[in-house]
Subunit: 301 residues, 2 copies
């Protein structure tokens, strides 16, 4: 079968063996759903994996923002708790060229302790792909860094709940569109020492809105070089995120998965908090697509 | 004398009687220092208050970002604690047309409990203008809302220290440059009920980076109208700021001064936290300029 992780800004397609082995991959960084116009999803799918379909693949399983209101077909959010079988049973049929079958995995909806809703699209499939590796039968916490970082609580092999932190998007917006931009060289290479200073600052009192101004003030007084400011700022935000997640009661070890460089930053920050963590396969989405696809019978397609 | 609060984005000029009474005022919203090119400060000053100078005023006192590196003449930051006499003694001469004398009040530098620097330019003059009203001989906490909100600790009639929160600028950057913009009508009128919901949310655990995503998720699930999102978001940020300030140990009552609509929001949020507060004269800068100018002898000019 073919599995596709189709998000806001990119499309990642996998040709999958029945045992989940990735036999081929196509990545189209510019074919995220925001780049696809009305009526453009079927052509984009043909363009991305037409060669594999011509070679005999007849089933395509999608996950990610492609199932949102801005996507191809809207798949209603499935409420938590939800696991592999629940997700497979809730997949949605997408009209496409006969005899090829296309289905879509829904996103998940949860509520945090304050009753405020939480949504994800795509990460549920990554989590399914990681369940074996994390011994998901027991309670476990996963952290999936990204533009919107997800902290996911797994219990009994199902996703029990999750919390989203807008850390990546806040970093991008504030480093480009506030006074911080004046004393921050966004193109500078990472400085681990400055990152660690930012993490340490996040442990102090005063709050994030106050600590942000410190990035500017340290630059003004010459105590933080422009070239180190982006690393310090990254450590400050990730440190605040981790401090808040710990306060909300996540249970270590933290299972990390995602883009390598970003996961390395979270691992470094967790270590600074003294929190044990494990880094997992960045291809979790491919494995989750294979597992959910494997749980569908022929008649379900 | 003439007093001018000359900030990043606007210029506010006051013609002051010896007792501090405001006899005239000019406001040039478009003549902040960011709008003034090299060599443009003296002409801008003549344009703003040339009529009062022609009418016999010979002394001009400036405060605000006009004393920064991007301003007219850079006045080094004065370290805290500092009061009226310290500020008057540290004013800096600015070259201008004889026989008119122009001087500039320096900004202040402090360090927070974590050793990180804090800077202000202009607010020190507002605080001096409020000292009588707040009984500044005792310990007191002032909160001056704005793009960069200042929480100022006064003791023994001097500014002992302060903390800056980037709340206003964070609101502007995140509401325009993140996914929050999609479900937020920034032009909608204020909704006090939505503001209160945001303040209440800030008291819950989870952290600001997590609560930000809730603004988006509440919109997606139809639990927060687009027209109410900006008010909710404002309450969320101001609530986080107040919670952090309280945790850092500010002592009530909180003395508020600044733009009326914004001060009203802070007053409402403080009330939701059960913190007593008092609202003061928004013309505090004019009074501070008069007091500091009055402390200068003729030979000092």
């Amino acid at each position: 079968m073919i599995g596709i992780d189709w998000g806001t800004s990119s499309l990642r397609a996998y040709r999958l063996a029945p045992d989940g082995t990735v036999r081929g991959r196509h990545e189209a960084a510019a074919r995220g759903i925001m780049a696809i116009g009305l009526g453009g999803f079927a052509p984009a799918l043909r363009e991305a994996v037409g060669d594999w379909i011509a070679d005999g693949e007849g089933c395509v399983l999608l996950c990610g923002m492609v199932g949102s209101r801005q996507g191809w077909v809207e798949a209603p959010y499935l409420p938590c708790p939800a696991g592999l079988a629940d997700l497979a049973a809730a997949t949605v049929r997408v009209p496409f060229d006969d005899p090829v079958r296309v289905r879509l995995i829904p996103g998940l909806l949860a509520r945090d302790a304050g009753g405020v809703p939480e949504v994800m699209r795509g990460e549920e499939t990554q989590v399914v792909g990681l369940l074996d590796a994390i011994d998901g039968g027991a309670e476990a916490t996963l952290c999936l860094p990204g533009t919107h970082c997800k902290w996911v609580r797994v219990a009994g092999g199902r996703i029990a709940g999750f919390a989203t932190h807008m850390t990546g998007e806040v970093f991008a917006a504030l480093s480009a569109h506030t006074i911080l931009a004046r004393t921050m060289d966004a193109m500078a290479p990472p400085y681990p020492g400055a990152f660690d200073r930012g993490v340490a600052r996040a442990k102090q009192r005063g709050g994030l809105l106050h600590h942000l101004f410190g990035v500017r003030a340290l630059g003004l007084t010459g105590e933080l070089a422009d070239s180190e400011a982006a690393s310090y700022f990254s450590g400050l935000l990730i440190g605040h995120e981790i401090a808040a997640a710990l306060e909300a009661g996540v249970a270590p070890p933290i299972h990390l998965a995602g883009a390598e460089a970003l996961v390395a930053r979270y691992a470094r920050a967790l270590a600074a908090f003294g929190i044990p963590h494990r880094v997992h396969d960045p291809d979790a989405a491919a494995r989750g697509l294979a597992l959910i696809g494997g749980a569908l019978h022929d008649r379900d397609w």
